[in-house]
Amino acid sequence: MEGCRLSVNDLACRRGDRLLFSGLGFSLVPGDALQIAGPNGTGKSSLLRILAGLLRPFAGTVERTGAVALLDERPALDEHLPLGQAFDFWKRVDGGGYRAEELAALGLADLLDVPVRFLSTGQRKRAAFARLKAQGTPIRLLDEPLNGLDTAAASTLLEDTAAFCASGGIAVIASHQPFALAGLRQLDLSEFAS
């Protein structure tokens, strides 16, 4: 995880005819966690997608060293497959493993033979988080990670993110909910709205 970096410089994002934000800049080094806050529609998800390289910024640059993983509202797990087999696909693509105790901590150990389409919103979110963890990247982008999670799962995710940053990872969390993480930097996107 050493040597990962994420910095943006004078970033602007336009969706359709609307300029969502402009003049945005920050720099993250290993161990940093940044929460992007702001009301709905200020461009939090768009910013994460720009950081992930999925969306082109309207202006400005993103400099990223290290692989990136993204958690959003779509779990990217095959709906009709049992959860275990859906994980197996990503396991083969990523070459990473799903440790039994990690799945148990996320409450997924008993769900591995349940087809993904029968999982609840929170269970899907937890499954997507397990997939993101197994990817083993030094940078994690979390888009509204607490949505749909119960308090136990939310605290598991918080603890895991804290441990991830402590081990030298970079986490960017887009959420309008408070994210109780020690040393979390805050960035209110509405201040950069134009």
Partner: protein, 219 residues
């Protein structure tokens, strides 16, 4: 490379397995249904059936190619799979090329097998059947490529499935002219041209599909 093989395995399992609810079997049944309806509609005149039968098989294959369009890319895009592939540095073009191979395997060979009972229903035999089978071998990769390009272009549209069917018909006309035309001329030239068009379409499809998927993301 191993990631692409994993993706190919998944695509094939989805198309042949229960994943897309009989994705591969439905076009075959539709193809056979069209071949079966034709003798009912024009009557049991064996001379007429044998003359028109090859063309009917081609039209049936073209119509069957429309059926799987809406399931080719849309579910995976909605589920965010293409985003996750992109994050891992797997190019959209590569994913679409793999999808094209899987789509043809689930569509071309089954149709060629189904053409044998269809030929029996239409009273085609011998040399004509051989030409039909060779024509389908040459033409179905092109049909698969057209289908994939259209699926990628219409993936973000509501009601894209119906539009996709309409779009496929004119684009497939060259394949139909040369593929079915080889039946009446009996020449290899028509088959060669069909194969050439197919090759061209297969070469374009990954790039057109990849560009379309990126455009949807920017949308």
């Amino acid at each position: 490379m191993s990631a692409l093989l994993t993706i190919l395995r998944r695509d094939l399992a989805q198309m042949f397995g229960g994943g897309r609810r009989g994705g591969a079997i439905l076009p075959v049944l539709f193809f056979l249904a069209v071949a079966m309806l034709f003798p009912f509609a024009v009557g049991p005149d064996p001379v007429l059936l044998a003359r028109a039968g090859g063309g009917v098989i081609w039209v049936a294959a073209l119509l069957a190619a429309i059926l799987p369009l809406d399931r080719l890319l849309a579910p995976d895009l909605e589920q965010g799979l293409f985003d996750q592939f992109a994050l891992r540095g797997i190019a959209e073009e590569a994913v679409v090329a793999v999808r094209l191979l899987a789509h043809w395997l689930s569509f071309g060979p089954p149709l060629m097998i189904a053409a044998v009972p269809a030929a029996a229903l239409l009273g085609i035999e011998g040399e004509t059947l051989r030409l039909v089978e060779l024509g389908l071998l040459a033409g179905t990769p092109g049909l698969a490529a057209i289908g994939l390009i259209i699926a990628a272009l219409t993936v973000s549209l509501r009601g894209g499935a119906a539009l996709g069917g309409l779009l496929l018909v004119p684009l497939a006309v060259p394949l139909l002219i040369f593929g079915a035309g080889a039946l009446s001329t009996g020449g290899e030239a028509g088959l060669a041209l069909t194969a050439a068009i197919s090759l061209l379409l297969c070469a374009i499809a990954p790039f057109a599909g990849g560009a379309a998927i990126r455009a949807v993301r920017e949308g």
